[in-house]
Symmetry: C2
Subunit: 471 residues, 2 copies
Amino acid sequence: MTPEEFRQAGYAVVDWIADYWATVAERPVTSQDRPGTVAAGLPTAAPAEGEPVESVLADLDKLVAPGLTHWQHPGFFGYFPANTSGPSVLGDLVSAGLGVQGMLWATGPACTELETVMLDWLAQALDLPARFRSTGTGGGVIQDSASSATLVATLVALHRAGGGRWREVGVDRRYRVYASTEAHSSIEKAARIAGLGVDGVRLIEVDPVTRAMSPAALRAAIEADRAAGVVPALVVATVGTTSTTAIDPLPQIGPICAEHRVFLHVDAAYAGAAAICPELRFGHAGLEYADSYCFDPHKWLLTGFDCDAFWVADAAELVQALTVLPEYLRNAATESGAVIDYRDWQVPLGRRFRALKLWFVLRWYGVEGLRAHIRHGVALAARFADRVRADNRFELVAPHPYSLVCFRLRGPDGPNERLLAAVNSTGRVYLTHTRVAGRHTLRLAVGAPQTTETHVDEAWELISQAAALAD
Amino acid sequence: MTPEEFRQAGYAVVDWIADYWATVAERPVTSQDRPGTVAAGLPTAAPAEGEPVESVLADLDKLVAPGLTHWQHPGFFGYFPANTSGPSVLGDLVSAGLGVQGMLWATGPACTELETVMLDWLAQALDLPARFRSTGTGGGVIQDSASSATLVATLVALHRAGGGRWREVGVDRRYRVYASTEAHSSIEKAARIAGLGVDGVRLIEVDPVTRAMSPAALRAAIEADRAAGVVPALVVATVGTTSTTAIDPLPQIGPICAEHRVFLHVDAAYAGAAAICPELRFGHAGLEYADSYCFDPHKWLLTGFDCDAFWVADAAELVQALTVLPEYLRNAATESGAVIDYRDWQVPLGRRFRALKLWFVLRWYGVEGLRAHIRHGVALAARFADRVRADNRFELVAPHPYSLVCFRLRGPDGPNERLLAAVNSTGRVYLTHTRVAGRHTLRLAVGAPQTTETHVDEAWELISQAAALAD
């Protein structure tokens, strides 16, 4: 494809996306098709000869779009938001066009340096502790996801716990990882990947009301394990759990980790973005105890997936844990020690120029624009929670400090399950569920960029009507 | 940003990329700036208020582009190619615009199904063994990179070796991974991540001429380890090593793995793409023995990073090894067993709609168009190798079955190091180096989409001239 062919086709694709965004609200949020429908519409082999872009775009409309869950739909309230935005898409488009491989500073100096600066910008915008800035011993990096950040933190913790021998001799299965019973499944997955097995994870009980980790239970578990010859290696505390956005109390957890020299990773995948607003920084109290921290601009900060922002307080320790330097990657810049090679900060070797989308987002919206987006989501969630609170049929089952509301019909699970199915089958909204203290609970997570009061009110109307029929 | 604002800014960014591609050959391939130059040109904090896209594009020209290594430059001959193309960029653009999260079938049915079909298309186009097709027990998935594919293969191998106990109790440090001394550093990194440590990897000697793994040495190592109570878990064979594109002999390695029940992963990250041409499938002989296989369309198949295509023969085993199912991800489709949830096929939870760029590439070029691209690269490499062979000052240091030529000035390393530095300092071409049998060796890898005979000839002229001064 020549540059001129790309220019014409590029305009057509830009138009396609602009039109998609302008009309996404008219589509059903989720596909009603049965499994296999999309695959059945596709040929069984690639074409032998090339086809024009128009044919592909026609099939995109005919075959692909009807088979999607529309995460950017204003009625999308499932999981956590995965919001994107025009400037994010443009930054990603530049990245794709440049086709730069940022594994080493030498393979893309601007790719590396813009990333360092963007992570410093974000650290400042969120008022993260100084220890995470690149001007000291710390620094930030973009991971694909919070799962990968958790894995990297796990590996560094094992390296530290192993006293420098982990790299050579492997993992000691007496090491333990601690997280609350409400923590994300990626912690168990990381422990399994790292060779600890599920048995290497201790799930710590939570407060029955706040759903936050009990510091007393954490201390008791660590002390009992130490007494038994088990080695506490890592605590993962969560700011904004996936089920209910509970906030583990860092001011109490941090000193326990410090006392027992346990690596502390803080996973704020969804809720961290809220800290761009000074009044929403409460979850970060005690963050100065953390050895590493992450949040996902790709969840709630208008930056498309994948963009997890991950910081460590000791970058040298991270690099020691992960570096491998074969001859074909040696270069003068690396050997000067004056540059960052981000391949040593992550699991894969290769990496895209993802800092561009952060740069486009931060410059287009500015810090104030992003604050407005966060505050809008929090206000919409509060509006919805007010509706729930005012209706005696329903109960709120957890605090809603951010933009997620957890609620249910009072009483047994069955009607709640039917309510969820009924509401989602309208195609107008999409909610997901969780279990809180064993009870089936509906989750309404606000954050799609086009969601307004109208959409939240419509969601409530649909829920309220369906509730009447769900008993 | 409204859809209309996006439309206008989108045209501008498309123009920027078209102009970049049209003029990239005029830029120096690598930046001549010192470390810190880009960072020094950026503000120390994000702007408080938003700025127009034009300001960002101006800074892209002024600050970022001069600080890049231009991987799409026709004079880029370093590492392996990371080529992209117009249709790949357009597919990625659609993906960014949709902003779909493909972790589960339910979160993006078309995202999942198009990926399954694209991996089947690729398997057919490369004539991979039937065991990897989704129509049987196998199937394919997109990983971000071959490093991650190697890690996933390592985890499945450990799961299998552990007889189903690895998930719970963790890794047994008696497990061993085998690869040749020429294999990629990601194998050691994967073993370290998986908790085996460097000590868990046995590097098997290679044939001194072909640089391919010695099957006799592999057998001897496995038998000695078994006799010593060590458990062989995984062999990673490489088709097209990073240093010299050596091809480990699968027809001999496969039966050894089968006999000792060792998981066999085949890493064809770079060279696998060549198999789209029937006459270049020699490296895949014996692939029917493999439990898993990967290659990178993002290296040499005109598809932008990240796009590693990874197949397994037993998808159920892979899912068993990696699945974690918390309540908030439960859904009817998953529980029906009728769908693929690709989150269980990879390390992270989240995933982008990367199949779109493969779809755009396969349809725009067709299989014949992609064959022409591969054949073009192989012919250019052969042309360059002929120049080297005809000049008595130089020697070819390894076979060049694909599009990488490894060569050096006869004699000591010093002149070769100076030659490489001199040639790269011209800014017209960029080559990297390796060590072959301990000797400093230059690598010229063809594959950037704009590279033609003119550029290869210019590279030779620069090398030939610099050689006269390098002694």
